[in-house]
């Protein structure tokens, strides 16, 4: 099966009028997100991209019910986000692998399965299946510190997928890896996505990565984070290394870059969104109380 299931038109995630404010002490109120409206369809691969501090990680965490919005609602799988979390509809991958160093690779992947009450035989078979999928079948008995960063992150992905979540949340998962490993991991993620059909919400700093992976790229502005533009990526699938060299790819990358600039995010020489939203500007805009 190489083509993804056609995205069914019911949104699996609906974010409506979400605001997020952090209060740090009496006077300093940081408005992280403002007026976010977004729908994600089942089976889609959606990236969030924006300058540092634009709230994209915060938005991801709001979707995952790891923090709650100040205003607005999030509906996942037809339920409020907190019930979706309690029903274990999520898998999450952070920028660091966050593996338990006292457990072997296999036992790390078994962690969510234990918590969901799978029996021992099913835990073992499921963990092995996931690790085989990530091509780490030879490293079951290893400990995390014996693996490279990229391999540890693959274990983290295997763990996230172990309970067959409806939604996979990924927060700059390849940010700590070098460019070549990163491109390889991009292909990996697409392969996994095609095989499992999971909906993916992917936060990234990297324009090429966002365009290569996604069905849609959501470009966010500098703080307070708003959605500047949602770009449909109409590149054909399956996407390969060749895709990165097509003209259409560069056109979409340019479209994303220009949308980033328009949102007030500077783009640095390497073409990455740089720290935008300075506090001065946000005070001038009256966004900080």
């Amino acid at each position: 099966m190489t083509t993804p299931t056609p995205a069914i038109d019911q949104p699996i995630v609906r974010i409506a009028a979400v605001d997020k404010q952090f209060s740090g002490g009496d006077r300093l109120v940081t408005k992280a997100l403002e007026g976010i409206d977004l729908e994600i369809r089942k089976g889609e691969f959606v990236s969030l991209i924006g300058p540092s501090g634009c709230g994209k990680s915060t938005l991801l965490r709001i979707v995952g019910d790891l923090t709650s919005p100040t205003r607005g609602t999030v509906t996942v799988n037809g339920k409020p986000a907190d019930r979706a979390r309690r029903d274990r509809d999520y898998g999450i991958v952070f920028q660091a692998p966050v593996l338990f160093d006292w457990r072997t690779v296999e036992d790390n992947v078994k962690l969510p399965l234990e918590m969901l009450g799978y029996d021992a035989a099913r835990r073992t078979s499921r963990a092995r299946e996931m690790l085989e999928l990530m091509e780490l079948g030879d490293f079951l008995r290893h400990h995390p510190y014996q693996l490279s960063g990229g391999m540890q992150q693959r274990v983290a992905i295997a763990r996230a997928l172990a309970i067959e979540p409806a939604i996979l949340l990924m927060d700059e998962p390849f940010g700590a890896l070098d460019e070549m490993t990163r491109e390889r991991m991009n292909s990996e993620v697409l392969r996994i996505w095609q095989q499992t059909g999971t909906t993916v919400l992917f936060v990234t700093h990297s324009i090429p990565e966002a365009v290569f992976l996604s069905s849609r790229v959501v470009v966010m502005s500098a703080r307070p984070g708003r959605i500047t533009k949602v770009i449909d990526v109409d590149l054909p699938r399956p996407r390969t290394e060749q895709t990165r060299e097509t003209r259409r790819y560069f056109e979409v990358v340019t479209e994303v870059r220009e949308a980033l600039r328009a949102g007030g995010g500077a783009v640095d020489d390497a073409g990455r969104p740089a720290g935008g939203g300075s506090l001065d500007r946000t005070i001038a805009e009256g966004a900080v109380g």
Binding site: F94, A96, W102, R103, E114, M115, H143, Q146, R239, T240
Partner: protein, 310 residues
């Protein structure tokens, strides 16, 4: 379908701290021991009392083997008995006319003391873990009670021991209470840190699985805290022995090392070597207990990076 290239980024060895092979470490330890002996006898060589034939109680008037050029009070036979005399005293009867020799007697006393200490150690570790668990889950209780925990340890145990004996009676229970008292503190303090010693994202991870507090505790906090626990237990091992020895005297315990040390202290002038022998026995007991804890640590921390360190 895009396939990854051949070099998948194989496993890399973690930065290993090179610990010397065991043989070399034992050799190093022995060399230090020999060095201490050399310094000891060297001081007596230069400034001790005239050397006579080995034997715990040299007969006055026996031939002098060596007359040191100086006389230093600290190096005389009363303060610093010859090491061979100390070694020989292990074979003498521990008391005039007794059937066990000093070595057997000290071994029995040390074992007796160790049992008291071990009981106190276990109880103290349990209390320490319980307190730390409570504190980690309740910031209010932590802020309220930790100052008292700390204050409890600043009162010298010598002052507290008679009070405890008065309260619990002159028996083994008092000694165990004292040993517990000295053990729970390092465990509490270390575990307050240890139970929080993980990447905060691990907590987010557990939240994403809707983990209960119990699950978070058993699967994340407790395993993460084990290195801290064992560090504290190594300190507690020796502290519990000290507590037991000190507690034995107001506790009126006849069979432990505490009583032996007091007795040999009282009769020091007639046989200084015996007190040194008792001190050595206490030292060996402490080291042995430490090594037991260390062995358990190596087993419990298998597979973790840096497990073999310390």
């Amino acid at each position: 379908m895009a396939t990854a290239t051949a070099s998948r980024g194989g496993p890399v060895p973690a930065a290993t701290v090179r610990t010397a092979p065991r043989g070399r470490r034992i050799l190093a330890g022995l060399l230090v021991f020999v060095a201490v002996l050399v310094v000891w006898e060297g001081a007596k060589f230069l400034g001790g009392t005239p050397w006579r034939a080995p034997g715990a109680a040299p007969v006055p008037g026996s031939p002098v083997l060596w007359n040191p050029p100086f006389r230093w009070a600290f190096a005389n036979d009363l303060n610093l008995p010859h090491v061979w005399n100390i070694a020989l005293v292990f074979l003498e009867p521990w008391q005039r006319g007794a059937d066990r020799n000093v070595a057997q007697f000290l071994f029995d006393a040390a074992l007796y003391t160790w049992r008291e200490a071990a009981l106190g150690f276990a109880l103290g570790a349990g209390i320490g873990l319980a307190l730390a668990t409570i504190f980690v889950h309740s910031g209010l209780l932590e802020r309220a009670l930790v100052p008292y925990v700390v204050a409890s340890q600043t009162v010298p145990i010598i002052a507290l021991a008679p009070l405890i004996s008065y309260a619990f009676g002159t028996n083994v229970l008092s000694v165990v209470v004292i040993a517990t008292y000295l053990t729970f503190f390092p465990v509490t303090i270390a575990m307050i840190r240890g139970l929080r010693s993980f990447d905060p994202r691990a907590l987010e991870l557990m939240r994403s699985y809707a983990a209960s507090r119990r699950s978070i505790y058993l699967r994340l906090r407790l395993p993460a805290s084990l290195p801290y626990l064992f560090t504290a237990l190594k300190i507690a091992a020796t502290a519990s022995i000290v507590g037991a020895i000190i507690g034995e005297s107001p506790g009126g315990i006849a069979n432990g090392l505490g009583r032996v040390i007091i007795t040999y202290n009282q009769y020091y002038i007639t046989g200084p070597e015996k007190l040194w022998a008792a001190i050595i026995a206490a030292g060996i007991l402490g080291v042995a207990f430490y090594l037991i804890v260390r062995a358990v640590e190596l087993l419990a921390l298998r597979g973790r990076p840096g497990a073999a360190a310390g």
